[in-house]
């Protein structure tokens, strides 16, 4: 029956059922991935971020919150220029992680 409305899906990140396969795989080859302090330097300097919503800080969170598809979509914007890696205060090899996500 059409009521003219329908159930809205929950907006909660359901941490109990998040699939962390990709993130854990990345963690094995890039242990530094854990050390992000969410300072946003990568996003601020991002050449693609100048024109798009590209943000590595968010992308990393997407992977940890079960939004892998969104993350992969976001990567498409990346130009792989490597400025993010250059500015990261924790020395995270961001460009490598970006490539590894797509592997």
């Amino acid at each position: 029956m059409d009521f003219g409305f329908c159930l809205s899906p929950s907006s909660h990140v359901k941490m109990d059922s998040v699939d962390l396969t990709t993130f854990n795989r990345l963690k094995e080859t890039n242990p530094d991935i854990n050390t992000c302090i969410a300072c946003g330097s990568c996003t601020a300097t991002c050449t693609a971020g100048n024109f798009t919503e590209m943000s590595f800080r968010r992308l990393l969170l997407m992977l940890q919150r079960g939004k892998e598809d969104e993350a992969k979509k976001m990567i498409q914007r990346c130009m792989l220029c490597g400025k993010c890696t250059l500015v990261c205060p924790r020395g995270i090899n961001i460009r490598k992680i970006l490539l590894d996500i797509t592997r």
């Binding site: 907006s11 909660h12 969170l61």
Partner: protein, 336 residues
């Protein structure tokens, strides 16, 4: 020059001040309301940032004050002042005359029950940081039963206008990360989450601890305050928070939730403090003369303050203040 100096409180501040005053040739007298010296530090297992056993520090301090006249299980019930100094009456009816008084009464732990939404005292597996520390010390807590997921809530009773504490409690961030590492040491397979608003890693080695927490212990830091806790059918805790960096509400099930309780002013001294004429500051702690040059003196001549009775402080802060107050008292006595 054998003047008595009355030190109210036998924690880190009181003991260290007594040690220094004794070395300066004065006669410190410690009045401690509990049955032992050492204050909160004696309840702690290890200290941040380097996981140093608290026992070591406390034992050294105890050793230094073993010749200091100490009253345990005793409170100051009355204090009067005249031209000859201070005259205190203790709960055991003894009377002490002193030339100066040091308030080293420290802090109380915020009563976690007051943040009702976290369900402390309601849900079995919600505990405080103090209780977790006790677990590390004794190896036993009925709530900790091989947990798989553990959460830490920062700023419980701090930076929260709803409980009338707007100040930052200074040490909880570092303590939370220290305890997160420690619980990972005990349960390496557990997932540990901390829910923080800001991570204030202000001291030497603290930022390294933060890095260690992330790198070596795989502790996951989520920026967002837990807003509510409930229990599911299995007695596990269901928590909700906003992942503010991700911009989405977050929900997860935990086995244990640890509340990082803030420091609050120790109110058991209020009556004596009032008699001495020492006011409180806007955070409810004791008001010192100013926060730069007069941090150990109060509006009342001869009444000194040291340690966490004026604001939340770390152990090194407190010891530094205790040493500084000793100098202040020494000069005060000499210039009289």
């Amino acid at each position: 020059m054998k003047e008595n100096i009355l030190i109210i409180g036998g924690g880190a501040a009181g003991m260290e001040a007594a040690t220094q005053l004794q070395k300066m040739g004065l006669t410190p007298i410690i009045v401690e309301k509990s049955e032992q010296l050492g204050g909160h530090v004696a309840q702690w297992d290890r200290l941040f940032p380097a996981f140093h056993p608290a026992k070591d520090v406390v034992e050294k301090m105890l050793n230094q004050v073993k010749d200091v006249k100490t009253y345990l299980n005793t409170e100051v019930t009355d204090i009067q002042r005249d031209d000859n100094g201070f005259h205190a009456t203790l709960s055991n009816n003894e009377k002490i005359d002193a030339k100066a008084v040091i308030l080293a009464t420290g802090f109380d732990i915020f009563k976690a029950e007051r943040k009702q939404e976290y369900g402390y005292g309601i849900y079995n597996n919600v505990m405080t940081s103090v209780e977790l520390e006790k677990f590390f010390r004794t190896g036993h807590d009925a709530r900790i039963n091989n947990p798989k997921k553990i959460g830490f809530v920062h700023c419980v009773g701090a930076r929260d206008v709803k409980v009338c504490n707007t100040y930052c409690s200074k040490v909880c961030c570092t303590t939370a990360l220290k305890q997160a590492c420690e619980i990972k040491e005990v349960f390496p397979d557990a997932e540990v989450y901390t829910f923080y608003m800001d991570l204030r890693m202000f001291g030497p080695g603290y930022e390294d601890l933060y890095l260690k927490t992330q790198k070596d212990f795989d502790v996951k830091c989520v920026r967002g305050r837990v807003c509510e806790v409930s229990e599911d059918m299995d007695g596990k805790l269901v928590i909700k928070a906003e992942d503010t960096l991700f911009g989405k509400p977050l929900k997860m099930t935990l086995d244990v939730l640890v509340l990082m309780c803030a420091m609050e002013k120790n109110k058991s001294i209020d009556a004596i403090q009032q008699k001495l004429g020492v006011a409180n500051n806007t955070d409810g702690f004791m008001q010192n003369q100013d926060m730069y040059l007069g941090m150990n003196t109060t509006a009342q001549d001869g009444v000194f303050v040291a340690g966490a009775c004026t604001a939340p402080k770390s152990l090194p802060d407190t010891i530094g203040e205790a040493r500084s107050v000793a100098t202040q008292v020494f000069n005060y006595i000499n210039n009289k």
